[in-house]
């Protein structure tokens, strides 16, 4: 630090030497001494300030370097994780795809056995029916896995928009999981204020949203309760609401509801299986269609899933 202020230090030294050699007149002596002393202390302070602020600035700079290196580590890790996750998705999709044919074969043969044994209902017949049910559930899971893989890849299948009446959408909705509703004695209520109107939509995708929301509602509804499906059109928005009287959702569950393979605290009420893809699929389809999906729920008092999709009304 002395070197940085070498000029100022030597000026001081020279001045002091000159004062010693040629003492100033008495009336100025005090001022010369005062000036030199203050100059000296000012220089000392200046050097101190400079070295303190240099040290602080250097520390900041080091922290900045550490932060940027930590950031690039995190970015690298993130890229690795994304690659691993994609690889996992691919393996899963591949396995699911390869399982589908043999499973369909098993289901077909079990169905045949069930039909053949129908005239003499007994253990064989009920086992065969059970195999058919389990195979159906598993095939549905496989379809979900393949769908989410396709949706995450950004290709929901290039559907064509077509005109469909709200009433027809409601019919599709009530046909979904009819067997499950009957088995659990759940009453399905279907509502709309403008069932006669038609909209232009990618029908297969909207039906898939309905399927997943309705089968989800049935899955988590207690026996003998009511599931309400409502579809309205309002200001070029298709509004879907599926309400159940199930246990509702805790805040923790709401946070991860639309994530893939979400494990929630709620359990199906009729022994149904769930791998947590149904709502993730809804979320991705809704995103693809430029709409939004959310849930309104009070724990213990059921849940209402709402979807809003921008559509063109055609009548």
């Amino acid at each position: 630090m002395q070197a940085l202020f070498a000029k100022e230090l030597s000026v001081l030294k020279e001045a002091e030497g000159a004062f010693a050699r040629h003492p100033p007149p008495e009336e100025l002596e005090h001022y010369c001494e005062m000036l030199a002393e203050h100059y000296r202390s000012m220089l000392a302070q200046m050097m101190k300030l400079t070295s303190i602020s240099d040290a602080t600035q250097l520390q900041l700079k080091r922290t900045k370097l550490e932060l940027s290196s930590a950031l690039s580590n995190v970015e690298r890790l993130n890229r690795n994780l994304e690659a691993v996750s994609q690889e996992k998705d691919e393996i899963l999709a591949l396995a699911a795809h390869d399982l589908r044919s043999p499973l369909s074969g098993i289901r077909g043969l079990a169905d045949l056995i069930a039909e053949e044994s129908a005239p003499q209902p007994g253990e064989i017949h009920s086992y065969a029916e059970e195999i058919v049910n389990v195979a159906d559930d598993t095939l549905e899971m496989i379809r979900d896995i393949l769908d989410i893989y396709r949706l995450d890849g950004g290709a929901p299948g290039g559907q064509q928009s077509e005109s469909i009446r709200i009433a027809d959408l409601l019919t599709e909705a009530s046909a979904i999981s009819r067997a499950n509703a009957l088995r659990k004695r759940i009453t399905m209520v279907i509502e709309s204020v403008n069932a006669d109107r038609s909209v232009l939509v990618e029908k297969a995708l909207v039906v898939r949203i309905l399927e997943n929301l309705v089968s989800n509602a049935l899955k988590y509804s207690p026996h003998g309760s009511i599931v309400t499906v409502r579809i309205d059109i309002e200001d070029n928005l298709l509004k879907i609401a599926v309400r159940d009287q199930g246990p509702g959702l805790s805040e923790a569950d709401q946070a991860k509801l639309f994530k893939k393979f979400a494990r929630l605290a709620s359990r199906p009420t009729g022994g149904e299986s769930s791998i947590g893809l149904g709502l993730a699929i809804v979320d991705r389809i809704v995103q693809h269609l430029g709409g939004r999906v959310w849930v309104e729920t009070i724990p213990g008092e059921g849940a209402t899933f709402r979807v809003e999709l921008p559509v063109t009304a055609v009548g």
Binding site: M1, A3, L4, F5, A6, K7, L49, T50, S51, S53, D54, Q57, L58, K61, L65
Partner: protein, 127 residues
């Protein structure tokens, strides 16, 4: 006269003479551990330029200057000011990132008490 070339480090700027234009550039950040030692070869180079009565053009493009390099830079500018007062040709361009207002102010402040011809130029602005 030998040309000036001090490579950049994480803590010190790249200082070099552009052989085509004769402009001496200061690029990067300045946190030298020992500012007077860092600036010493630069000061010597300036002294020899002045001794040869040659024109001096400086261009600064600094993202940060610590306190002791600010002091060293002020000493450098004072040297050039004296040369300029005696009729030497000196010019300074101070480049600053358009979004770093503080570095514009630093340039204004540094050059404030000198009569050197100067230009303050923003960098990275969309035109």
């Amino acid at each position: 006269m030998s040309s000036l070339e001090i490579p950049a480090t994480d803590y010190t700027p790249h200082v070099f003479e552009d052989s085509k234009t004769g402009v001496v550039w200061f690029k990067g950040e300045a946190y030298p551990e020992n500012a007077s030692a860092y600036f010493q070869p630069i000061m010597e180079w300036m002294h020899s330029r002045i001794a040869e009565a040659r024109p001096i053009k400086l261009a600064f493009s600094l993202d940060y200057l610590n306190t002791s390099s600010t002091k060293a830079l002020l000493d450098l500018l004072a040297l050039l000011e004296a040369y300029h007062q005696k009729g030497g040709s000196v010019s300074v361009i101070w480049y600053y990132q358009a979004d770093l207002e503080v570095m514009k102010e630093t340039g204004e402040e540094l050059l404030h008490d000198f009569s050197l011809p100067r230009l303050l130029e923003p960098l990275g602005r969309l035109t």
